[in-house]
Amino acid sequence: MNDSGNGGKRPYALYLGCTIPARVQQYEIASRKVAKALGLEFRDVADFACCGYPIASLDARTARLLAARNLALAERAGCHICALCTACTGSLTEAAHELAHNPELLDSVNADLAAIGLRYTGGVKVRHLVRVFWEEIGRPKIEAALTRRLSGVVLAPHYGCHYLKPSDAHGDFEDCEAPHTLDDLIRWTGARPLDYPRKLKCCGGGVLATDEKLALGISREKLRDVARRGADAITLVCPFCNIMYDTNQKKIETMFGGELGVPVLFFPQVLGLAMGFEPRDLGIQMNRVQPKGLLDKIGIKRAFCRTSVAQAVSL
């Protein structure tokens, strides 16, 4: 089985990772609704576990093994993998790439996987949902599904680092110094992508566990850049980037002073709005910084998206 050309035939298993079900369920809700409406049916593999990313810092080999375990489960289910988290996408993509190019590693990984009754032979494709939107669903189908064009809306694209990098593992899918897929998708919804100096900067999530102030300081730089340029929202494709920019935005304001007030939307929420879904269908009430200005611009009454403190705290 090769890496391309069989996209439509073999189904995708939706890979959630650890963070989405526990902390940003709205991303899963919006992704499933929008994908289904675009004709993309997901399988669910109940045994999927950690992608290995957090373990790579401690032991690269165990991390690869955890990733390979998920690849083997997808293979057994006859599926490719569609991931929503960029760190999971990166970890699984790197593992799939390495296992495809290193038969010795594949043998030794399989010796360990045999202990849990699994085997990986190769050929599982790992794709981020947004890449699937751009590459496999494509512009004509997406534009045909729109019922509410987001004219006049300005969105700051934030490409999660591991959506693009390391570029060799991602098969040089696009130039990571000048990416355009998320910009294109924003344009297809009728909105305008903001070009801004800090567009390619990391969210800082990778050091949140080691040094919170440093991590939030990194996030703050981009939020300030976007706030200064007056975008209606940042749109992104990773739960961890969202935790940095949305969940932690109040904390950043408190820690460093100054008001930011930058709404943050997962791209499937943006696409969902353009496809006529109501904010509540897309879990937008669960976002911490509400996109009031954006909803006003496209004529949606704010009452739809108001959230109670209790709901916000329960997440």
């Binding site: 959630l16 990772g17 650890c18 963070t19 079900p21 526990a22 902390r23 369920q25 899963e28 809700i29 499933r32 669910d44 109940a46 045994d47 576990a49 950690c50 957090p54 373990i55 790579a56 810092s57 401690l58 032991d59 690269a60 080999r61 165990t62 093994l65 955890l66 375990r69 360990d112 202990a115 849990i116 009754g117 680092c161 591991h162 990098k165 390391p166 570029s167 990571c176 110094e177 390619l200 900067k201 990391c202 800082g204 999530g205 990778g206 050091v207 566990a209 080691t210 040094d211 440093l214 991590a215 300081g217 990194i218 730089e221």
Partner: protein, 178 residues
Amino acid sequence: MAAQPVLRTVTDTPDDEPPAAAVDHTFALQVASRAGGRQMLRCFACGTCTAGCPVAEIDERYNPRRIIRMVLMGFKDEVLRSEFIWLCAGCYTCQERCPQGVRVAEVMRTLRNLAVEEGIVHPAFKAQAELIRGMGRIYEIEDFDNKKRVRAGLPELRKTLEDIKTLFERQKLNERLG
């Protein structure tokens, strides 16, 4: 006649040179033998990595060019016991931009792996590893979460994934984490 410049002879030892015991001349090769390490030997210290680094931009404790220099010069103990190897955000900007093809982000990961092998484990990463070993994921899924999922029309998730423990044991990672 102009004064002759005073040149230091090779037998002089500068005051700031660390004691010989702190230098392990095989360190660079130990790192180079790991995945992503070989290209590090080509580093010509241009500083592109540090210039584009989002961490170095706001925190001078972290400087990838300096870390690679220290590795190449054999400061094994100083590097592996430092906090700075744990400050890489893993964004790969340095690695993508390096004109010499040094896989900088992977080198940082390798340095962390080597530190773990020496028994030096960052507590935050250790805590994450213990959670993953115990349940197969970083965040716990409780009955309450599954009820919420079902209400939202989402499939239930497994609360624990036991076979992850088997994989950890086969790698003897628990022992290394102490």
